[in-house]
């Protein structure tokens, strides 16, 4: 009994310790942001790694999600004779929810895991310690550019996802099942609000970008420096990152659309 409570206390302390390390780590990384303006090339290289290389998966996934929304929405709406609202359904679903959430999940799997593995291996092969030996702060040289690149890339990827998704919905709705093109766009423009829907979606994706990239670089930096440790850290990045996105999505939705 005593041993059980001891275990419980130990694991609770471990969780809080890790959270604390994560917050200190995040603040240290933020402190490295101003210096990045002078060496923006570092950020651009990371933008290439996390942004450009994720373009294809985001684009393809967005198009298919949009097409599915178009088809499912049409099949449901036709029962009520409301198939001209298809554009509204597709656009609102994508802009408010699926765009930010699905692109953040894909980002966690595609780029977050790569970030963790890269930084974890840097630690395991003592490259980070070598940098410290040369008086180069790895927080500023390695972590900060990756964090900033993630924060810039995720909102752009989410916007691309939504835009391509709307195109997919248009392709199926207007092209295949024959919803009128004019009503598709005009109903959509009537119901989608630039502030309430588009801007809130962008805010969501910025939050997701911060959280997922933070988890990814922190797990890499905090990894046990063995091959097993790196593999566990990579798994944790994807699992915790995805869960954080879904949980935060509910909180943000309640804050934004709850009123």
């Amino acid at each position: 009994m005593i041993a059980f409570i001891e275990n419980l206390g130990e694991s609770a302390l471990n969780i809080f310790e890790k959270l604390g390390r994560g917050v200190v780590f995040f603040i240290n990384a933020l402190a490295g942001f101003p210096a990045l303006i002078l060496r923006f090339t570092l950020v651009i290289q990371q933008l290439y790694a996390v942004g450009v290389l994720s373009l294809i998966i985001i684009g393809v996934a967005g198009f298919f999600v949009g097409m599915v929304l178009g088809l499912q929405g049409y099949n449901t709406l036709i029962d009520f004779g409301a198939e001209e609202s298809l554009g509204v359904v597709v656009a609102l679903t994508l802009v408010r929810e699926l765009g930010p959430v699905v692109s953040a999940l894909l980002y966690a799997g595609r780029a977050g895991s790569a970030l963790t593995a890269e930084i974890g291996l840097m630690k395991a092969t003592e490259q980070l310690s070598a940098m410290e030996m040369m008086a180069v702060d790895p927080m500023h040289r390695v972590i900060a550019p990756r964090l900033l690149a993630g924060i810039i890339a995720v909102p752009l990827l989410a916007a691309l996802f939504s835009a391509v998704g709307v195109m997919g919905g248009y392709f199926v709705g207007v092209g295949l099942v024959g919803v009128d093109e004019g009503t598709f766009w005009s109903q959509m423009q009537d119901s989608v609000d630039i502030y309430d829907d588009v801007l809130n979606g962008v805010i969501k994706s910025i939050v997701f970008g911060i959280v997922v990239t933070w988890i990814a670089v922190f797990e890499g930096y905090d990894t046990v420096p063995t091959s097993e440790g790196v593999s566990r850290a990579t798994t944790r990045t994807v699992v915790h990152g995805s869960l954080a996105v879904l949980g935060l999505d509910f909180v943000l939705t309640a804050l934004m659309f709850g009123d």
Binding site: T41, V95, I152, L156, A159, L160, A163, Q189, D190, Y195
Partner: protein, 153 residues
């Protein structure tokens, strides 16, 4: 060096595509022009009941949107709703005996103010008040009236 150039090019392309998508969401998917601050003059209307009218609801004349609702408040002196609308400056010849009603677009659609031009030669100016207004039709009242008229038959 060639490699960095390629990286810069791709990142530039990526950022451009991302911003273009945002732009498309703003312009094509949502209707940004509807929320730009329209230059115009304010008129006031009193209604017994505004139903589901909201700020930014359209004000139409002959079906064409000529302005938007800018403010809704409750006048506690006369127990009526006071609605302020902004009419675009180009439509400066609304006769003063114009009547205003609250309509619903479609059976369950959003509500808007429809104006019907009168015959007067004097036009409404900034700050003027409509004299003829008709309230929104509340579905429950309509059903109530129908039931009462059925019962009296």
């Amino acid at each position: 060096m060639q490699h960095t150039k390629m990286v810069h090019l791709w990142v530039g392309l990526f950022v451009a595509i991302g911003i273009a998508s945002l732009f498309m969401l703003a312009m094509r998917v949502s209707n940004i022009t509807a929320f730009a601050e329209t230059e115009g003059y304010q008129l006031t209307l009193n209604f017994d009941n505004i139903g589901g009218l909201k700020v930014r609801s359209p004000v139409t004349m002959a079906g064409v949107v000529i302005g938007r609702v800018s403010e809704i408040s409750f006048d506690k002196e006369i127990y009526e709703a006071e609605v302020k609308v902004t009419i675009e400056n180009q439509y400066d010849n609304i006769p003063e005996d114009t009547s205003a009603s609250i309509f619903t677009s479609g059976l369950l659609g959003e509500q808007y103010i429809g104006l019907e031009a009168g015959g007067s030669d004097t036009f409404l100016k900034q700050g003027d008040r409509f004299k003829l207004t008709q309230s929104a039709v509340v579905l429950e009242q309509l059903i109530g009236q129908f039931l009462v008229s059925k019962a009296s038959e």
